[in-house]
Symmetry: C2
Subunit: 556 residues, 2 copies
């Protein structure tokens, strides 16, 4: 089989005007970025149409390090739906440059289920990440400048400043640093660091905002740190939100591209899935729903993290609800959850599949618990045996959940027609909106307990003393009504990445809290969250090249 | 009079297709960025046409802190040339975000001589600066990663690493820092810092490259530091150049916009004018020359810095030569050079003008020394009196150089018709290509002496011991044949900013050297060069806003 970039480069792309015209848009509705990319002005959002559109969430079981293929499946499903005559848009996150130059490669799908132009999407795209980075870093510069100021100082205590700079790069050296050295003219030295741009609160804010007004309000609400006399300081105290929002004037608009098969794809925003909501922007999802009858979207990591936040944070904020949820699984991951080591996942192991399917079952129960129709989709690999598949099929029948194979990676829409049909049936079964896991009126502690117990299957939630102190402070500051965004490992339903399958009788330990006062959630932290990854020993960057005709190679 | 942004927002912009069609381009030739911006593919460069096009350089006398209005005059002149029926393009640098959020405001001209859409041009534009920043920072991440690597280490001595990260922001806290803290997983701690993106060597490289091949070669040539056993390490040793060039795949293409009067404007690249060449990209200038009969361009700071580098570095590299040079002066600056304090420049002071005109005379001599026709252009302010103007007029007559008033700021092309006519006549007088100040075969020391003595009017050049040692090392490494790019204050013809007017009997002190092995010049440093500015007490950012319709205010 060809590599992803070869397949993408062999594809004859349609002009973006033609893609848009399938959505009922005129050339003049678009803001073109070359021939194959366009930004969609916010005015194209159509409230009435949103209510009648079928939103489909693609989520996954607890993933292995390689991922289960959510993006590839989402793109394949959208192509399949288009193929069976449904007016469909796939709505996805934008890739980060970190993994592109690091180890994982880009994030534009794979095989015959990709979004194109893949080089553009993976490299800089329409500049959204850069604009977000700039807005983030402008606030940092204004904070440091205020601390340095003799005449206009707010009295910010540099030791309390929570705001970090951001860069869309895997660069471990930026994780922890001391800045503002070099004497008086260099500023007041501070212990700080950079987050990768996807982990910036500005990214989370952009993805949860409805319009410029909402964006500015949220940017202004960013909690920056405290003054020496313990008064909280917000971005608005630095008059930062206007210029930050001005920097985001284009980044707020969703980007239209296409799949290899010419299905419209809207790609917009890319917040981290642990300390943020991990899914594309609300504006983009609503744009997709405004323009088509079926919208396929995905949320980061497994359903415990991605789907939970998708419902309780994103959908609640946006006032939308999916009509069906696809849970992507791979036989390899099920074997892994059944105790098989990563290196041996290609070998048939029926016993491991039997044990591992308990992980899938828990995710299915969770989706059903949200009151929505679930479809289990096996992203098929060559090494999967029929015997392994039939165990899974039976397990799904036992849970009364439809089970479909997807071969989008190898066959494009031809490999996802069954999935598409099954998903359409599921949307037709959907009778109501999702049931939230908690009420916003619940106390933060109650919210955390409800998510940990209902979604993760935990027994107790244990708060460290530090976490208790912080929570008290955040409650004092009036943040109790915010939804919660738990940061924990994606490798287990628990907070211990070694507990595979469906762990039981475990506790969740909340070590500390963070606050995203602008994005609007409280972040209980259960584990170590790396917000600035490093490059591997042999970075993917070393293999990337461009020739004199501007043709790029080595991207994956 | 209205503010710049009000004038710009009142302007009814033409679709960029219409601007392009005046240049003989079709819609399909362009890569659109919305309706009013487009990238021009490199294939549009036309060698034959370049040779017959009239390139006009706009430079200035030694400037006051407010600048003399080179960009505004360039735009006004281009509009004037268009008005008198000449097919003209103005080719300029892209603004940096640093001054936009700092104190100086944007750099898209002013009054009725502006390029538009000014908000886009000033904020992020087509993402070129961000792409340059990313390429710069990818190399930094690869360096740190190699230093951290156990298996693939090149043995780079962290204390020798010259390469800094970059950010397009005025942020003094980033000037000097210690990175890679936090123990083993955080990397090897290093003393380093950030340059503002305009000061990055990647910016200089992009602006001097001819195509992707040249770009990659230059990126690979970047001198990163030394190994522990004193072997020089280049970016190519880290296999960095392919991915860096891939990140620049769009940034390498010039951007087409328009002036308020619909004259085509190509805006591309923005290297610093002290430690780099300080003028837009060679590709952009050649693109302008390929597409029109008259091309107006400018070079940073006064003629001693900007024009000298324009000729000896840019034009020599590009194989082009201007047909006329406009020297912009203001009565205010002449009074300042005549000893009048900055605060009193609005008062008439004939004596100060008489003394100050010596600065102008030296710049005129320099341009004449390059063998090119000069035109002196007075950028007129309301406070200028007729008596002051006539002193200048007489001085120009004495030097046998045409003198014209320009009122582009207040009147647009109506205020620059005389200038346009005079410039056309000057191009017709031009008989040969510019005469370089030095040969590439001259030793670095000879090159420095020739520039300092001929252009600055210095007596001797004094190299510090450090500079001598460094020069010796760079000569050993084979860099002797490179042109030189002297970094010194723009506030004086000398290296002492207090010596106004036309200083004589001064020496130039070269404190140290830097090398831009990729861009291809040796940088003798005569003074303190700030590569990462700070924000002022009240940053312009605080006044910038965007409303719910996406309309920006407070930019200047």
């Amino acid at each position: 089989m060809l590599t992803d970039i070869e397949i993408a480069q062999n594809c004859e792309l349609k002009h973006i005007d033609d893609i848009a015209s399938n959505l009922g848009l005129e050339r003049d509705d678009l803001e073109h970025y070359g021939k194959y990319k366009a930004k969609l002005p916010l005015e194209l959002n159509n409230k009435h149409k949103i209510n009648s559109s079928n939103l489909i969430l693609v989520t996954a079981i607890t993933p292995t390090p390689a991922g289960e293929g959510k993006t590839t499946t989402s793109i394949g499903l959208a192509d399949g739906l288009s193929k069976i005559g449904k007016k469909t848009t796939v709505v996805l996150r934008e890739p980060s440059l970190g993994p592109v130059f690091g180890i994982k490669g880009g994030a534009a799908g794979g095989g015959y289920s990709q979004v194109v132009p893949m080089e553009d999407i993976n490299l800089h795209f329409t500049g959204d990440f850069s604009a977000i980075e700039k807005a983030n870093n402008l606030l940092a510069a204004l904070i440091d400048n205020n601390i340095q100021s003799k005449t206009r100082s707010l009295g910010i205590d540099p030791r309390t400043v929570l705001w970090k700079r951001s860069m869309d790069m895997n660069d471990r050296a930026l994780r922890k640093m001391v800045t503002a050295l070099g004497g008086k003219s260099g500023g007041i030295p501070m212990e700080t660091g950079f987050n990768i741009t996807a982990a910036s609160e500005v990214m989370a804010i952009l993805c949860i905002s409805k319009d410029f007004e909402d964006l500015k309000e949220r940017l202004g609400n960013i909690y920056v740190g405290d003054t020496f006399d313990h008064t909280p300081v917000f971005a608005r105290d630095l008059n930062a939100e206007g210029a930050m929002a001005a920097l985001l004037k284009d980044a707020i608009k969703p980007n239209l591209v296409q799949t290899l098969e010419g299905t419209p794809a809207i790609i917009h925003g890319g917040p981290f899935a642990n300390i943020a909501q991990g899914t594309n922007s609300i504006i983009a999802t609503k744009m997709g729903m405004s323009l088509s009858d079926y919208v396929v979207t995905e949320a980061g990591f497994g359903a415990d993290l991605g789907a939970e936040k998708f419902f309780n944070i994103k959908c609640r904020n946006a006032g939308i609800s999916p009509k069906a949820v696809v849970i992507v699984a791979t036989i390899r991951a099920l074997k892994y959850h059944g105790g098989k080591p990563l290196s041996d996942l290609k070998e048939e192991d029926l016993e491991a599949v039997v044990k591992g399917k308990e992980n899938l079952r828990k995710h299915v129960e969770n989706i059903t618990g949200f009151g929505l129709p679930a479809v289990v989709c096996i992203n098929r690999f060559e090494s999967d045996t029929d015997a392994e598949i039939s165990i899974l099929k039976k397990a799904c029948a036992d849970c009364n959940v439809p089970f479909v194979e997807s071969n989008g990676f190898t066959k494009g829409s031809e490999g996802t027609l069954d999935l598409a049909e099954e998903v359409v049936k599921a949307t037709e079964r959907c009778e109501s909106e999702f049931i939230p896991t908690y009420d916003l009126e619940d106390s933060p502690r109650e919210k955390i307990e409800k998510v940990c117990q209902t979604v993760y299957g935990a027994k107790y939630v244990i708060l460290s003393n530090k976490a208790k102190r912080q929570l008290h402070r955040f409650e004092e500051l009036g943040f109790s009504r915010l939804p919660i965004c738990i940061a924990k490992t994606q490798k287990s339903l628990s907070d211990d990445e070694k507990l595979l399958g469906r762990p039981k009788n475990f506790d969740i330990n909340i070590r500390e809290f963070e606050i995203a006062a602008g994005a609007g959630f409280l972040i209980p932290i259960a584990g170590n969250i790396l917000r600035m990854p490093g490059l591997p020993a042999t970075p993917a960057a070393e293999g990337i090249d461009i020739n004199n005709d501007g043709v790029i190679s080595g991207l994956s």
